[in-house]
């Protein structure tokens, strides 16, 4: 399975490494043409304002929406989760508007409030070490969205069909089980095509 990692800005190498550990092949994606060659796409952590601007500039908005419409899976972590959301709290303009959820940016506060913790995630047998960095939260979800984990009552992992999102950074640890989970989504989608 070839899994692309959107490489406009952010922690690209870490996702490529985790995908490799999970048994897939990670590829940095800088151009829309490359989407044709991959079975799934990860939108990494970084600064969502920067990634969103560059996505618009290089026509990634429509290209990724088309990619997702073909049933191919997309996984957003942290900034990537923000980019996937249909609505953002405050007056911010949403980006891909793919997942039926409302997201609050920097929901825990500033960097000094960033933290790591053990987190139970539906579909993964034992807790995952989750690193939250100036992390967003999912404040509301639509009926199609399956909540996979919560932290102190707030949603931090969610899935809607072929879309997966986490507030935290699974790519910053050596635990690649969430990447394996995503790789399985890509395999299922490929089998259906």
């Amino acid at each position: 399975m070839n899994i692309g990692v959107l490489a406009l800005q952010g922690a690209v190498a870490e996702h490529i490494r985790s995908i490799g550990l999970a048994g897939g092949t990670g590829v940095a994606v800088k151009r829309t043409e490359q989407l044709a060659e991959i079975d799934g796409l990860i939108i990494p952590g970084g600064e969502s304002t920067t990634i969103g601007k560059l996505m618009r500039k290089y026509d990634f908005i429509d290209a990724i929406r088309d990619f997702s419409a073909q049933g191919k899976p997309v996984f957003g972590t942290c900034a990537g989760l923000i980019v996937l959301a249909d609505k953002l709290e405050g007056d911010e303009e949403p980006h891909l508007r793919l997942m039926d959820m409302t997201v609050a940016r920097n929901a825990f506060g500033r960097q000094r409030e960033s933290f790591e913790t053990d987190l139970d995630v539906k579909g993964i047998d034992t807790p995952l070490r989750a690193v939250f960095i100036r992390a967003p939260l999912i404040k509301e979800v639509g009926p199609e969205v399956d909540v996979l984990s919560t932290y102190k009552g707030e949603i931090v992992t969610a899935r809607q069909g072929n879309l997966l999102a986490s507030s935290y950074h699974p790519e910053l640890t050596d635990d690649y089980r969430l990447h394996s989970y995503f790789l399985d989504m890509a395999k299922e989608a490929a089998a259906k095509r």
Binding site: Q9, V12, T49, A79, R105, G109, Q111, F115
Partner: protein
């Protein structure tokens, strides 16, 4: 639940990769930087070229400026403390800044000791001009590095020198045998364990950005080719003719540093970059890179 772990502090820098961190002096400039696609801003009272021109002692910025900038942008805000001035750093941490630059751009407060950065919850970035300085700063707790370059000159030559030297030293260390590593650690003045890590991984333990003299989109792309994880642009943006255009062009050139047609396109009609300074025209005491070894 743990805050301020090394993974959380270093991870924050990982999220800046491929990005441009811009020096700003007020809320208005911060908004311009964010709109242009900066991944973070550095809130300052004066940019390095103004510090150079003004002379005298350069200190931490007035907290009002830092708070004003924090209020208007949603991206991370960094601020500078003097080398060794742990009280300035504590003050910045209490304000809630997202990253502290223990910076040679300001007048050092301590000629021997750097801040013991591992004791802080807020992460630190520090400048380095060779592998020895880089690993000493990591040992003290820096979660991110940058080249020193020669700040406020608009002249890329020193940043290039520092990045080439660090990358060359990493390649050299990779090729040493285990027994040679002990000696190398002694020569460089660094802990053996950190050097062993470089030997095994072929990279620094934290993200390393370019800084100190970047003035054009091509400068930023050059530093990315030489192995930078991203770039800091200090005086280069708000001392240019058209800060908005310069900022946007540098962001694009950093992302697509291998796409020369794109760099050509974004470099058109930018206006005049900041006026630079030829390094040999600087007196020995005017060189900021020699501060804090």
């Amino acid at each position: 639940m743990e805050t301020g772990t090394s993974r959380v502090k270093r991870g924050m820098a990982e999220m800046q990769k491929g990005g441009v961190i811009m020096d700003v002096m007020n809320a208005e400039q911060a908004k311009i930087a964010e709109a242009a696609g900066a991944t973070a801003v550095m809130a300052l009272e004066r940019v390095p070229s103004d510090i150079r021109a003004a002379g005298g002692v350069a200190r931490m910025a007035d907290p009002t400026i830092v708070e004003e900038v924090m209020k208007v942008v949603s991206i991370p805000v960094m601020a500078k403390a003097r080398i060794g001035h742990f009280v300035e750093a504590k003050v910045l941490e209490s304000l809630g800044v997202d990253y502290i630059d223990e910076s040679e751009v300001l007048t050092p407060a301590d000629e021997v000791f750097h801040i013991s950065k591992s004791e802080f919850t807020v992460p630190f970035v520090c400048g380095a001009k060779d592998l020895g300085e880089a690993l000493r700063r990591v040992q003290e707790g820096a979660s991110m590095l940058r080249t020193k370059g020669e700040p406020g000159t608009g002249n890329i030559v020193e940043a290039v020198r520092h990045m080439r030297l660090i990358m060359g030293q990493i390649r050299h260390v990779q090729n040493l045998s285990k027994d040679e590593l002990y000696h190398e650690a002694k020569i460089l003045g660094v802990p053996y364990d950190l050097l062993l890590g470089v030997h095994e991984t072929g990279r620094l333990p934290v993200v390393n950005f370019a800084a100190g003299g970047i003035a054009t989109p091509s400068d930023a792309a050059l530093m990315m080719h030489l192995g930078s994880d991203g770039v800091f642009v200090g005086s280069g943006i708000f001392k240019s003719d058209n800060p908005e255009k310069f900022a946007r062009a540098i962001v694009e050139a950093t992302t697509h540093y291998e796409d020369y047609e794109l760099i050509a396109r974004v470099s058109k009609n930018l206006g005049t970059p900041m006026k630079g300074i030829e390094i040999s025209k600087l007196d020995r005491h005017e060189r900021m890179q020699d501060r804090g070894l």
